[in-house]
Symmetry: C2
């Protein structure tokens, strides 16, 4: 498994590559499968369909890892949060606002996720399967805002005015996420990634006090449980890099605001990502040239996994995504 | 002038304070004056009204500096770019797309800005007057997108596919902005601030190649011309801080993603801003407490100007903004 070799620092002939949201709306084949189950959460719970979708990037792109098709809001439902996805809109979340009435979950309540992992594992040939969850802060932000937000002012106000309650909510989320990830590892996940979409909105100190405290616990618990590599992806990566260096996480998945060359020289952590996905809106010539330049410029020949700095977008072109993957795969590290 | 003293590193009894967008829609008095001239650009060009609006924060907040009321898109019009502000929407920009057909401007074409500076200077008593412009990259991004954007994909594509043309456009913008700021300094501005709203969207390398190259020239030209302090404000400040350390700018105005305590210890530059404006959505008690904690925690007693990490928003409460200013002013540095 190329990806695991790279993360162990072993010599590799080329960089491993997978892409965030690699199975998604930009694929006609994905849209076709979605026709069979239009309700998004039901689609995520349909083991058969979710597994088939997760496999599409193997067939259509030839990536080096498969991530289970799911949503970061999935573990909130059994906690007692109602989650709705309206067509063409962001998610909406409803709950009573009382931490005490939220439930501690065990993995059997999201057994379908384990089944997807196991099924994918059986079908993925030699490819590693990536499990995932949302970061405690990002999930709390969704819950407090009741959906997405431009400035997360409700969440911030919650932290500042009811800090103790916020910590309790994040503790519960963290506990539940630990169970949720352990379940995925038990089911066969080779790597787990934590997605932090909204931490970038936090002030530096609040990032440390809230987001990081619980991330640390999450990663520590998983480290005790298993040796699978742990990946942390967060948007706005440039800002909080320094704070993350001593987190017990193996891989930082960073966006394009990061000076990856310096970080590779200074950090002992493995890195993932960095390339700006907007390159996929360029001509094929420019795309190939920029990807090659990027790969040539990297000061490391291992402990790096190619990915973009963010997920693929619905209006991206499958042929270009395929070209991107091919370009990365054709970049030899043995010369 | 407290603000200039602080920026010279002289001993000061308390931190100076002003706020970005301190004269704006959150003030009933501003909205009243806007009634007299509903077209936004015409309002900016009306010396009488723009000056009266610029003075409101002196009367209503008691701030330590006045910034001229204007818009960063003002200097684009005489270059040959049509700028429209529709009610309740962002700006829209129209131009032919040819760099050769854009004009080099001289300050007489925006003489009204000089008049506002001079008039404000005469009425501002002992307060410093701040002139400003948009950063070359931010103005180019507005021009290429034809307005604002979520991901600035057109601008990025322009950089990647037509890099040479992008550099020519930014060179012309920089030349014009140098003239524009020199004119404001000649008219009496005591400080000038460059606003970079969109550079945060750039990958790290492109930030250096495009944004920073031209910022450097802009600041160098102004340094040759005058000794007024130069301030650079950019959103997403956490990401590119390291790249900015050797820019010939006196003050970095940063947002809340910056770990200001570390930066104050490590950087020789003056700093401005940092506090999250979302605090203004909190209760008065929490607001006052957080502002006091913030000020107490700063490791510097000079070379700092209080401001928020971003401009005030239309739905903010004037009484709370006033309370914020009062809280900063009551924090004594002499104890």
């Amino acid at each position: 498994m190329l990806l695991l070799k790279s993360l162990r620092g072993e010599e590799i002939p080329r960089f491993p590559v997978w892409l965030m949201r690699q199975a998604g709306r930009y694929m006609p084949q994905y849209r076709e499968l979605r026709e069979k189950e239009k309700d998004f959460l039901s689609f995520c719970k349909n083991v058969e369909l979710a597994t088939r979708v997760s496999l599409l990037p193997l067939e259509l792109l030839g990536v080096d890892a498969l991530i289970i098709f799911s949503d970061i809001l999935v573990p909130l439902e059994p906690m007692g949060v109602r989650v709705e996805f309206a067509e063409g809109e962001g998610p909406r979340l409803f709950w009573e606002g009382k931490v005490e009435s939220l439930k501690k979950i065990d993995f059997s309540q999201t057994a379908f996720v384990g089944e997807i992992v196991a099924k994918l594992k059986a079908l993925a040939k030699d490819l590693p399967v990536i499990g995932f969850c949302g970061a405690p802060f990002t999930l709390m932000a969704y819950m407090v805002e009741g959906g997405s937000s431009k400035d997360f002012r409700k969440t911030k106000r919650f932290l500042w005015e009811e800090g103790e309650k916020a910590q309790r909510l994040m503790s519960l989320l963290t506990e539940n996420l630990v169970e949720y990830l352990k379940g995925q590892v038990r089911a066969g996940a080779d790597v787990v990634q934590v997605f932090d979409s909204w931490a970038l909105h936090l002030p530096y100190e609040e990032f440390q006090t809230y987001a990081q405290t619980h991330l640390r616990r999450l990663f520590e618990e998983l480290k005790k449980f298993s040796s699978v590599p742990l990946v942390y992806f967060y948007r706005g990566s440039g800002s909080f890099l320094r704070a993350l260096e001593d987190l017990p996480v193996d891989v930082l998945s960073v966006d394009w605001t990061v000076d990856i060359k310096s970080v590779m020289r200074e950090s002992s952590k493995a890195l993932q990502g960095n390339l700006d996905p907007a390159l996929l809106y360029c001509s094929e010539e420019v795309l190939v040239e920029k990807v090659r330049d990027f790969l040539k410029g990297l000061p490391r020949r291992t402990l790096y996994v190619f990915n973009l700095g963010h997920g693929l977008m619905p209006d991206m072109d499958l042929q270009k995504v395929r070209l991107l993957v091919d370009t990365v795969k054709s970049h030899s590290l043995s010369c």
